[in-house]
């Protein structure tokens, strides 16, 4: 074999330690016989050295503090959601379990209905109820357009956290989310996207969790019953969710 039998990619793979023993031996056999191939190999071994030493300098770059602190907040938020899911004492479909918020605590009140569909024995509250108005909060619909599941953002008068995205039986994109207000009220909602924007479908008010209350199975079944009634799909994987959000733009 001669140097012309060995192409650039093979030489590069040799320089990068990517060849198996057999192919590496082939390259080495030619290297000792053909000085021209040493020159060709040098292009790859020396560019690798240059890049590895450049990378070593870059590794010394300090990580900006806000990158670390934002990541830590995201990790804590995710850990909270995760541990909350674990304390919910009920057998429910796997589709939402790991997203389940602790704030779905006792004494839930259903405040919104789809077409008068009665979901639970809880008292019905008319749409002008101030708690329902949270769905018109400035900035909320923009965040529904933008945030991935698990994301949080500040909106007027509180914070929104996206729990999951799914599609209803008609294929409309729906998002389950909660809005936390400074008065310790948490509203868990489902909104689906239409031509006109985000239509609120269901809102459940839950008192903010004080660590002593656990969600009764029946309150969660309310949400499940609703999701089953609209033919909700399983939560969209992040890639599909991202594509669905892109389609809104």
């Amino acid at each position: 074999m001669t140097g012309t039998d060995i192409d650039d990619e093979m030489l590069m793979a040799y320089a990068d330690g990517e060849l198996d023993e057999h192919d590496a031996a082939r390259v080495e056999a030619v290297l000792s016989d053909d000085p021209s191939i040493v020159t060709r190999l040098a292009v790859f071994s020396r560019t690798r050295e240059a890049l590895v030493s450049a990378a070593a300098v870059r590794r010394a770059d300090p990580l900006p503090g806000q990158v670390l602190s934002r990541a830590q907040v995201a990790i804590e938020t995710a850990a909270d959601l995760e541990s909350d899911a674990k304390v919910v004492p009920l057998a429910r479909p796997d589709r939402r379990l790991r997203f389940l918020p602790m704030s779905l605590a006792a004494s839930l009140a259903v405040v919104g209905f789809l077409g008068g569909y009665v979901l639970s024995p809880y008292a019905r509250v008319e749409p002008q109820d101030p708690r329902f108005a949270i769905l018109g909060t400035t900035g909320l619909s923009e965040e529904l357009d933008r945030l991935p599941a698990g994301g949080r953002a500040a909106i007027e008068g509180g914070e929104v956290a996206i729990i999951a995205s799914f599609r209803d039986a008609t294929g409309a994109l729906c998002r389950e989310f909660e809005v936390d207000s400074p008065d310790a009220t948490t509203v868990v909602s489902v909104a689906c996207r239409s031509q006109a924007g985000w239509d609120p479908k269901l809102a459940v008010v839950a008192p903010a969790d004080d660590g002593t209350q656990y969600a009764p199975a029946s309150s969660l079944e309310t949400l499940d019953a609703y999701l089953a009634a609209i033919g909700a799909s399983a939560p969209l994987p992040i890639e599909e969710e991202a594509a669905a959000l892109d389609d809104l733009l």
Binding site: D8, E9, M12, A13, D16, E18, T39, A42, V43, F44, R46, T47, R48, A50, L51, V52, S53, A54, A55, V57, R58, R59, A60, D61, L63, P64, Q66, V67, L68, R70, A71, Q72, A74, I75, A78, A79, S83, R98, P148, A149, G150, G151, P237, I238, E239, A242, D246, L249
Partner: protein, 163 residues
């Protein structure tokens, strides 16, 4: 209650930020990309196979986030300014050494490469991913990684006067 996934995620932040900078070349956008990647990784962690390396899995998520972001920018007609150079690596005057000068020269040469070539170069030579891992991150065949990488290295050698 930090577990190993979370520890490894934190440990990967510098590499994620370097990769983000190599993609978007603006530090504020890079920071946002890293954050989006972290959030998506946490949301998708049940799909992470602990038997595989975390970095390539994270790089793939970060790259998808970047593609999403660029699609949105194109949709909104926002121009991405790619002229900003990465911030200087080291501020300490005493340490402005030959290595740093060579770093800048190398980065300028990399910046002049086509995006697809620069990207394989970064993943293989900066982040030391294998060809197979790089192919996985980029969603392209390993042979394509090798041909892009070889072209990138030859072009870089010419620019840096290596031959």
């Amino acid at each position: 209650m930090t577990n190993s996934f979370e520890r490894d995620l934190i440990a990967a932040l510098p590499a994620l930020r370097r990769y983000a900078l190599s993609l978007c070349r603006k530090s504020d956008i890079a920071d946002d990309l890293v954050q989006t990647c972290v959030e998506r990784a946490l949301a998708a962690r049940v799909r992470y196979d602990p038997g595989e390396r975390l970095d390539p899995w994270l790089f793939r998520i970060l790259r998808n986030a970047w593609l999403d972001m660029t699609r949105r920018m194109v949709t909104r007609g926002t121009e991405i300014d790619v002229t900003e150079t990465p911030e200087a690596a080291i501020q300490d005057g005493a340490r402005v050494t030959e290595a740093v000068l060579f770093l800048h020269e190398t980065e300028r040469a990399m910046a002049a490469l086509p995006d697809d070539q620069r990207e394989v170069l970064h993943l293989v030579c900066f982040e030391e991913l294998s060809y197979a891992e790089t192919a996985e991150v980029l969603g392209i065949p390993k042979g394509t990684v090798m041909s892009r990488l070889a072209r990138a290295r030859i072009a870089l050698a010419e620019r840096l006067g290596i031959n």
